[in-house]
Amino acid sequence: MYRSIREAIRDAEAKHIPLSQLALEVESKDQGRPVAEIRAALKRALDVMRGAIEQGLTGQHKSASGLVGGDAAKLHRGPAGPLSGTPFRDVLARALAVQEVNAAMGVIVAAPTAGGAGVLPAVLTGLAQAKRLSDERLVDALATAGLIGAVVAERASLSGAEGGCQAETGAAAGMAAGAGTELMGGTPAQVGHAVALAQQGTLGLVCDPLGGLVELPCVFRNATGAAIALAAIEMALAGITFAIPADEVIDTMGEIGREMDVRCRETAGGGLAATPTGRRLARERLVQIKKGGEG
């Protein structure tokens, strides 16, 4: 497992292979399993991701509290906006879909966490659909995303309780940006810039769920996180570079997380959770959950 994006890029360039192949080789060695088995496991994860998107887009999922649900379907079939018919709008719908299923205790793939599980599948499957890319390519992209996520876990954190939302949807945006850049034919160096460009845009993002429920704003943070990932992919593929290397941006995320007030780290004591409306909704909805009893 790599502890540094820079080292991974260096090794991939030296071997003239994409980061995905490097990630698969390293994972195969670490786990003592052939690459084919790891690819098969990633393919199963891809199938679960697609299942969650499909379910979410039907608009049938309501969360335990009833605070969120049904919005993915609005983007999927609802009134047009300036981005109708573009991959951008489709990606946003997919991100909401996964997260609405998650809030309803449905089956999803933590990527890297459940609270940030919408970003990666939305960006990758959305791009693959728009560009008619094969599942093989998507599996490769998931391997690259795994490599990036492992580096973030080692250097910073993947926990909202430790590092705020920047460690969840922020990390997910970094993974999706890097993986999406490779999926679209970007070089390992461009992948590194995409990770840095995405994560610089989520630095400082607090974790402030109403009532502590992974619902509001979590569902929408996944859509905006996916938007940031798409912006980073577009910039990196255009040849734009970010002066601060990805590893240092990730380290910064970790530092900001450690200094973040505990109220803004998933305890529902700060941010939007602490607004008058946030408190009122949380109070009402938690009562409703208790009344609902066993699901």
């Binding site: 335990a64 966490t113 926990s159 502590g212 429920l213 992974v214 505990v262 305890t267």
Partner: protein
């Protein structure tokens, strides 16, 4: 995995799975003390359901997690949840829990944390400090501090065809009890565990399942 939170649902389920290993099956009684964010936001995340599901042997992707509390009632697992403070913010992870489990004549407790992205860490078993990550099959044992203890145990494990990933020995004082944590690449078979338990200087031992990443 089943949503909504990898820390509060998947990680919590894995901690339940590890606690279950302490008594070798579904406990009859369980006391769950929740700390920090587990205590404050656990309810909405289904942390209670997930821990109870883990205690019954359900994995994090099992859709029965949603109905775990009802199933526990039918399976005669009596559980009680408490919100508490297990330590200060500097030393105790915000998502921590102490789980005390009883089954027949066995009663054990562990202190565990959910680190994010579903990863877990056990820092204490029956008051002894340990370092167990759920990513390996793990044998935890307390032995008298006799010479050659490691060699004997390593021999048994090698005879079983297993590969040791990490091994840590800690003791509070010279000649005092030694606490040994062995992480393995493969699951140990019953014979290896019985051979280790048969050693006269091994006070007790646990085999903890690999519970995921």
């Amino acid at each position: 995995m089943v949503g909504p939170s990898s820390s509060h649902t998947a990680g919590a389920c894995r901690l339940g799975l590890l606690a279950r290993c302490l008594v070798g099956g579904t406990p009859q009684r369980a006391r769950v003390e929740l700390h920090g964010s587990f205590a404050r936001t656990g309810e909405g995340h289904g942390t209670d359901k997930a821990i109870v599901a883990g205690l019954m042997g359900f994995r994090p992707d099992d859709e029965r997690i949603r109905d775990a509390l009802g199933i526990a009632e039918r399976e005669s697992l009596a559980y009680v949840f408490e919100k508490t403070t297990l330590g200060n913010d500097e030393t105790t992870h915000p998502n921590s829990v102490r789980i005390t489990v009883e089954r027949a004549d066995r009663k054990h407790a562990m202190l565990g944390s959910s680190l994010g992205a579903g990863r877990v860490f056990v820092s204490e078993i029956d008051g002894f400090p340990v370092e167990v990550h759920g990513g390996y099959h793990t044998i935890v044992l307390v032995a008298e501090d006799v010479k050659g203890s490691i060699a004997r145990i390593a021999g048994i494990i090698a005879d079983d065809g297993l590969n040791i990933a990490t091994l840590r020995l800690t003791r509070k004082e010279r000649g005092g009890d030694a606490f040994i944590v062995i992480e393995l690449d493969e699951a140990p078979n019953d014979k290896a565990l019985a051979d280790i338990r048969a050693l006269s200087w091994v006070r007790w031992s646990f085999a903890l399942d690999k519970v995921g990443a």
